[in-house]
């Protein structure tokens, strides 16, 4: 199942020198990376299975420069791939050999912090965590907290609609965003939203969020900041089976409690994290559940009791409650390091990201086990149990011939299973190139064509991040009012990849 990308256009490759020269008229020379060795540093993002050397890397510093680059790209019909910190797990910013890689890392300023309106205006290259760092002195924080928050940028968070472990209560990026400045292909600059809450017409900011860099390039974001809860406390619950753990999670929510975090790990992951970063996880447990409660002291005290009682009733084999902030962070340390911990036993891993209806978890886990056996691979599971977002980590060894391909095939089968039980392909990592060819498992051709029509409204030439998200390449003119009789394949002449 090797990935096929749109073939590089010879006409563009042959004009590379001209494109580089034109970029150098827009940017200072040192912001145009044309040298092959230097370009090599950009040949993939955190989805490292596939790599490509970008035609050239451009590192703009101003909105005017971004606008000029996108105008140039439209004029020369050159593809553009936007990139934030390059932490995408789905290849959303994987370069194209005939495309300009537009690195937004120099947009790294926090423009304004407005406590009265509880928001921060930031450039897209600012990292997720640095927003919290900038406002925590005044008792505020930025809620979405993807595991990569130390490195990932807000522009990328918006592009992928990044989540984290606190989504159930505090939402994803889309629920914490107030405004965007966006440069469209062709160079036009638009502003969406601001410091107010409601969209003034169609919610294009909501559409941009999670659009994986296919609609426009984000040059500024206004995000909400929240007052830090007075108290946060974590419960570490061990269970003798994943079923017991899943039942406890369901019972907590059924009681009307929406914890700030509700995470689950299976035995394989518990073992791996304990070796990587010992943090006192019960080694005899088949499933570990972390419940985080936050809010007013009285509320947290009350809910801690409620959750502990539920856990006991559901057969928890161990229950620890954090008694200090240091201990709470220690409970989380293993979970936050689960991916690198698993990488140590991998030696390589492929991280899946399906979301399923929570109550289907036991059968999905059993199904995954059977699939893993079929492919002769191991799977470790990390689960955002509260919202049903599952991260099976498929362990493989890239140095063994055929292992990568088997891992990919297993991943695809796992995602098909997620869709079959009413779930989706990706909860927070994005489709990118990784899950592109599986879109048909979830969407009909008509569903996908409507999405592609929306893409055409933003980028009629299809030059912004092509080859991502959609399994077929298309020309926008094909989505006019022409209609094809049912059953006939549409545009059979188009390449499918």
């Amino acid at each position: 199942m090797a990935l096929s990308m749109p073939p590089p256009e010879a006409a563009i490759l042959s004009r590379r020198d001209e494109i580089v020269a034109r970029l150098k008229k827009i940017l200072p020379a040192e912001n145009v990376i044309a040298d092959e060795i230097a370009r090599r540093a950009y040949d993939c993002d955190a989805f490292t299975m596939y790599r490509a050397l970008p035609l050239v890397v451009a590192l703009p510093e101003t909105v005017a420069q971004v606008s000029a680059i996108l105008e140039l790209a439209q004029d020369l019909s050159v593809k553009v791939v936007p990139r934030g910190a390059g932490t995408s797990l789905s290849g959303g910013s994987m370069p194209l050999e005939d495309g300009v890689l537009l690195g937004m890392s120099k947009f790294n300023r926090i423009i304004e912090i407005d406590y009265e309106n509880r928001c921060a205006r930031v450039q897209p290259g600012v990292t997720n965590l640095s927003i919290t760092r900038a406002v925590e002195g005044r008792g505020f924080y930025y809620a979405p907290d993807p595991s990569s928050q130390i490195a990932c940028s807000i522009g990328g968070n918006v592009g992928e609609n990044a989540g984290g472990v606190h989504c159930l209560k505090y939402g994803l990026t889309t629920n914490n965003l107030l405004g965007l400045e966006v440069v469209l292909m062709g160079g036009e600059v638009i502003r969406l939203g601001g410091k107010h809450l409601d969209s003034e017409f169609y919610d294009l900011m909501g559409l941009m969020t999670g659009s994986e860099g296919l609609l426009g390039v984000i040059t500024e974001a206004t995000v909400r900041i929240l007052p830090k809860p007075s108290v946060a406390r974590a419960l570490l619950l061990g269970f003798a089976s994943v079923e017991d753990g899943a039942r406890a999670v369901g019972a907590i929510i059924a009681r009307g409690v929406i914890p700030a975090g509700l995470e689950m790990m299976d035995r394989a992951t518990i073992g791996a994290t304990e070796r990587f970063q010992p943090c006192g996880y019960p080694q005899d447990a088949e499933a570990l559940v972390i419940v985080e409660l936050d809010g007013a002291q009285a509320e947290v005290d009350h809910l801690t009791g409620v959750c502990e009682e539920i856990a006991r009733a559901q057969g928890a084999t161990s229950a620890k409650i954090s008694t200090s902030e240091a201990e709470r962070l220690q409970f989380w340390a293993g979970r936050k390091n689960a991916f690198p911990a698993v990488a140590c036993i991998g030696p390589d891993y492929l991280c899946m990201d399906g979301t399923i209806p929570r109550r289907r978890l036991p059968e999905v886990l059993l199904g995954m086990e059977a699939l893993a056996k079929k492919y002769g691979l191991r799977v470790a599971n990390v689960f955002h149990a509260g919202d049903g977002n599952l991260h099976p980590l498929i362990l493989y060894d890239a140095s063994i011939d055929g292992d990568s391909e088997r891992a990919e095939r297993l991943g695809a089968d796992i995602l098909r299973l997620c869709v079959a039980v009413g779930g989706v392909l990706t909860g927070e990592h994005g489709v990118g190139v990784e899950k592109r060819d599986l879109m048909g498992e979830m969407f009909s051709q008509a569903d996908l064509e409507q999405q592609m029509r929306v893409k055409c409204a933003f980028d009629p030439q299809g030059r912004l991040n092509p080859g991502k998200v959609f399994p077929t390449l298309h020309r926008c003119a094909e989505f006019g009012m022409m209609r094809v009789e049912r059953g006939e394949p549409r545009f059979p002449e188009l390449p499918r990849f």
Partner: protein, 396 residues
């Protein structure tokens, strides 16, 4: 004119394709309770009454799917019976439009992006719509999103159809995230000398860790409270023990205030949700969304310009301003929008005669590039302007 009443998605698609072929527009009809919102649209009425009923409700999974034509009251009763609710607290437009309360369908609720006071804390309708099925303006049966809480598979088209007034697609089925109702609630009422002081109290409360789920300011005399002074209203929800504590903490932080208990608090916020202070007053009504610190500046600009301000109040910490102005042929739109040009934000005309709504930009005009993009997005769903022609913009 007859009413089209398709009984399935396939028939609906056929009706919309036929309208495309004939070039005749369609008006989407649910309960007909919101026809006075937006610009007057033209076309053959098309009833979505066939698309009713709950197809999935799993309280433990916090998810509900129902036909877009399902009466909203029916769903709210069902959620209530399971101790759950729509956390975005959708406004009931009935009182504002002079209709009985409790009408309307889920489709109408989605299409008007109906959100209420809790939006500041819990998000708006757009944040709780997980997915939908529809027939686009081009006559294609399309679905988007899903039934799970966390989903980034493909574009988030739910955001587009929320608040699109049916101009993109005829919704047939909608899926929501639903949340548990809190054990109880209370409101802290703080009387102040002046609106500025009331709004400052709201902002101060919003900066505390008390997690207020309602932050409104009621000018003196405004219904439903009709107080002699201006007041800040701060709602706290949760377990009783927590609410009691947070009320006291806030009272200490703000230097006083009176506690309003659960049942009265519920009535108060229902009235505020439905814009009671302006709904009760005849005149042209606007809903203005600005940065919280700009709400008062807008009111002061209107007062300074001599606008006939009949009633107003603030929600969302001052960022949502409801206005009732004396009748004028232009509904005072130029004055209001001149104020917004410097502040940012946008104004929607929510109550005016049909003639005025046809003449005035009901929705905020957009800068050229954004207006052009918006139109292309509309046409990506509805290239021939078949659905709700004229409802949001005169040109389409």
């Amino acid at each position: 004119m007859g009413v089209l009443a398709p009984s399935s998605e396939a028939e609906l698609a056929e009706a919309i394709r036929a309208a495309n072929a004939a070039g005749t527009p369609l008006r989407l009809l649910g309960a007909g309770s919101k026809t006075a919102l937006g610009r007057p649209s033209t076309g053959t009425p098309l009833s979505l009454a066939a698309f009713t009923g709950v197809s999935l409700y799993e309280p433990e999974e916090l998810v509900l799917t129902a036909g877009a034509g399902t009466p909203r009251a029916e769903i709210e009763a069902l959620l209530d019976a399971h101790g759950q609710r729509f956390a975005f607290e959708p406004i009931d437009h009935g009182p504002l439009l002079g209709l009985a309360p409790g009408q309307g369908t889920l489709g109408g609720m989605v299409s008007t992006g109906a959100s209420g006071p809790r939006r500041f804390q819990a998000g708006g309708l757009r944040d709780h719509l997980l997915g939908f099925r529809c027939v686009t303006g081009q006559g294609e049966i399309v679905k988007s999103g899903g039934r799970v809480m966390k989903n980034v598979t493909g574009y988030d088209l739910s955001k587009l159809v929320a608040g699109a007034y049916g101009t993109l697609a005829a919704l047939t089925e909608v899926t929501f995230k639903v949340l548990p109702k809190p054990e109880t609630e209370a409101t802290l009422l703080l009387e102040t000398s002046g609106e500025a002081e009331a709004l400052a109290a709201l902002r101060a409360a919003a900066k505390t860790a008390a997690e207020p789920g309602g932050l409104a300011a009621s000018p003196r005399g405004a219904p439903p409270l009709r107080l002699a002074r201006d007041a800040a209203l701060i709602r706290l929800e949760g377990p009783a023990i927590s609410v009691a504590r947070r009320v006291e903490d806030l009272r200490a932080a703000l230097g006083g205030g009176e506690r309003i208990d659960a049942s009265q608090s519920r009535d108060l916020w229902r009235a505020l949700r439905d814009a009671a202070p302006v709904a009760d007053q005849p005149g042209q009504a606007w809903r203005v969304s600005v940065a919280p610190t700009d709400g008062l500046a807008l009111i002061e600009a209107l007062r300074g310009a001599g606008a006939p301000l009949l009633a107003h109040f603030y929600d969302w910490v001052g960022g949502l301003v409801w206005l009732c102005l004396g009748e004028a042929p232009d509904a005072h739109a130029p004055l209001l929008r001149a104020g917004l040009a410097t502040l940012g934000g946008h104004a929607t005309l929510v109550r005016a005669s049909k003639e005025v709504r046809a003449r005035v930009d009901v929705f905020e005009p957009q800068p050229r590039a954004l207006a052009a993009l918006t139109r292309r997005v509309k046409e990506s769903f509805d290239p021939n302007h078949v659905l709700e022609r004229g409802r949001m913009r005169a040109e389409y």
